[in-house]
Symmetry: C2
Subunit: 205 residues, 2 copies
């Protein structure tokens, strides 16, 4: 048993593309255009991977999208967890959290909103197998946001029910903000909306 046993590659011809890099590319397409407006031909063009390779690697378009959604969910929840960590304690932590978002929403992929939010809206009422996912994603998001709000009350001054209410309000605000951004709001409108929430959060002191 030499070191070569560690370096065991899979048997046949090796992949010419990096799976993660391709998934990143395809994620952006679905994110920007939505599920049903993105064709397999689009995915082929964007990735440079031939169609049958996509199918043999990821299965059907629906399976591919399900995997991309899960991947995106994991990444986004990790990101939120870290943002909550970095936010710091106290009401100022929530302020910092929101200010961090402000910069991300006006350019780049931020303009497309959140893939989970968009998909939860698009797939409702049509897609089989995606019904429960909107509920699940909001639960995951709520957990993180509850952590953010909870650590803003170091002395335990707020009751659980107050924390829960603030969490629900904050999450609903986050959803609405994402929708505003995706709906084509300019930097001014986005700024005003965030300012409005910051003012409300300030009353929690």
């Amino acid at each position: 048993m030499g070191v070569s046993s560690m370096n065991t590659r899979s048997r046949g011809r090796p992949r010419l593309f990096d799976e993660d890099a391709v998934l990143d590319e395809l994620t952006q397409l679905f994110w920007r255009k939505g599920y049903s407006q993105t064709s397999m031909a689009d995915l082929v063009d964007a990735s440079g991977v031939h169609k049958s390779s996509l199918y043999s690697t990821f299965g059907s378009k629906e399976e591919l999208f399900a995997r991309i959604l899960q991947r995106y969910l994991d990444a986004r929840m990790d990101m939120f967890s870290k943002l909550v960590e970095q936010a710091g304690p106290g009401i100022d932590g929530i302020h910092a959290f929101l200010e961090r978002l402000r910069g991300d929403l006006v350019s780049g992929t931020g303009q497309w909103g959140c893939l989970l939010v968009n998909s939860s809206s698009e797939l409702s009422g049509t897609a089989p197998g995606f019904e429960g996912f909107g509920v699940a994603f909001r639960q995951a998001l709520r957990e993180r946001l509850r952590g953010l709000i909870r650590q803003a009350e170091p002395g335990g001054t707020a009751s659980n029910s107050v924390t829960d209410q603030r969490t629900d309000l904050f999450m609903t605000f986050m959803l609405g903000l994402n929708l505003t951004v995706r709906g084509g709001a300019d930097e001014n409108e986005i700024g005003r909306v965030i300012d409005a929430m910051q003012a409300t959060i300030d009353t929690w002191r």
Copy 2:
């Protein structure tokens, strides 16, 4: 010139279908399934009107949808204007407004969210000719909500900037609420979200 001159029908063969009734029917389809997931075949089946009649009456699918969107916008803004009237003055008026919504969102067409919100999310980043519509619709909605919030401050106790901030917050909340509803939230989750907003509004007294 007898009375018959008042009863002047158009020259050719009369329509067998009622245009408004058909538009109502098609609106529900687009509302539930979204624009791109609704095919012309779906529209034919739902309306009972033959395909070429739909085309000769409404033009292309895109034109038909644009008309339905405008129609829906007008109807919804009328509805909101009336809801604001009925709400009455004071903070209790806003409470009443929200309570009125609570019942509408748990069943029937309310479960599908708002066609304008859904479409503003779906059409962003793909649809040509629909870019500015999300901004326009949020402006129209904001005007109504500003009226609601303004009439809750009879003594002029709040400055314009405070009114504007509350309006932005309330509108963002409304968008998030619609998204939550369309995302498959049950009556409990919807109730909690509305409760959270009611609590915030109560601090405006």
